[in-house]
Amino acid sequence: MKGYQLREYEGIEFSVALTATLDRELVQHIDKGPHQEDLCFGYWRPSPGSGRFTAVLHQVNLPREGERSLHGNVAFESDYLLRVLDECPAGSGIVLIHSHLGPGWQDMSCDDIAAERDRLAGVVASRTHLPILGMTWGTDGAWSARFWLRAARHEYERRDVTAVRVVGKRLRMSYHPLLSPLPLIAGSQEAAVSVWGEAAQHDLVRLRVAVVGLGSVGSIVAETLARTGIQHLTFVDADTIELRNLDRTLGAGTEDVGSEKVRVAERNARRAGTASEFDVRMVPERVQTPAGLAAILNCDVIICCVDRPWPRHVLNAVSNGHLIPIIDGGILAVVDAKKRLIHIDWRIHTVGPERACLYCLDAIRRSDAALDRDGKLDDPDYIAGLSAEDRARFSRRNVFAFSLSVASHEVLQLVGLVTGNARIGGIGPQHFHAYPGRMDVEPTKACQSGCDMLEITATTVNPVE
């Protein structure tokens, strides 16, 4: 686990995540109108990806009477800091949050720097063994943030975060104007921009998006994201292309048999990409391995294109635990004992804070995830002993045309999530019945009371180890 020394973070990007619920609580406290700033402290937990370190905010500690002075500007008293240090939960870092009186990403005044670097950085690092995090709220709701890391004795250096994400029914991003600058909208993206507008395109294409599973659905999602102009893509899949995959893997030919799926997807994405600056990372790992998990923690949103229940359990936990929304889809094609087609369904849903998890959506079952984790679903004798209904769930029957539909709706749900435009992403989980040919949709649901995914919100738990 990384600490507060600058040298530990060489080459690492920084970000911050919080739930929309916590965002509302914070704004209620620090928004004092056009003439008065305010502040408070809070706590965060580390979410360490392989290339990005994220502070996941989980708790606010509001000031009591007399613990800060308001005079247009705002300053905290030492008693407030001492109380916050005393009450800091084990394993958490401390964040100082304050408001400014203008919109957009905020720079720091000399007083802001003195408060964070000179008054807080040393004492917080020595107490928590994590760097102090500073956050500033702009009047348009934009967040800016930075860490202060120890470079030498009594010397702390500032490292700005690339983006702050607020995760709820919508994924709202605040991007650093230099570390993640406004992208050039290429002429090849004009058609998309004419539909959802330039501002939405700016938010969308700067996301760090992971595609987990580069098979039938994932290969299509990967190319679609590249064509849409997404700049930063991470492809996660440990498998190689087999002959039986060729009827449903976009861009793969017979010459690719034996190649890593991530490599084939990367080649296709580079060919299709419309972004002027394009970064594709290949991770030939399973998401339930340390390397796979660390790769997806670099991302702002994950498109889940795997059909196995154990990796989907892991992603389900990541969505709430690390505040990385997951867009998931699944296909069920049932045939009877005489191999006659009975029915075909597919489903697409977005999960994460303020939404129902995959268990509460009945998209996966806990016992299936446990069986998959324990290797039972690869045991032919065990599968043979299952009921016909259970065997159908694990049959993984699929056709390229089904995958096209699921992939399309997954990307549309991503656009809806980021833009907040329900006219693109729909209003909630979608369930398509090939017969009679109807898409059902229901308003976004939340997890049921007592769901363990609610308990782990913003805890940055490791679902694997």
Binding site: A317, R365, R366, A370, L371, G450, M453, E455, V461, V464
Partner: protein, 109 residues
Amino acid sequence: MTLDDLDKHLIAIGRSVEDKTVGTDVYTVIKGFAVSNGNTYDVAVKRTGGTPWLPEAALHVHPHRVPMGQSASQGSPLGGEWQYLSRRFERAPTAQSFVAHILTVLECP
């Protein structure tokens, strides 16, 4: 919940537990469940990593609760006197609900 939560609950309700290692796997053995058939059984739960805890879709029971092969029973890696009873547990586990699940499986295998 975590496995630590289950451990604390078992101690709080006075259950006697011990760990048993088989190869690389560790099981928590919970001793002495009296069942209405007049017998007493030990139950072993495989310790699996990760949070939230995802219980194995089976309990290991000693001695055999049902004739081997009935009620989705199989041999257990814990040894010949143990029985693997395949039982799905679909709810979000809490320590209390998991102990209730054990009692249900033992009463109605």
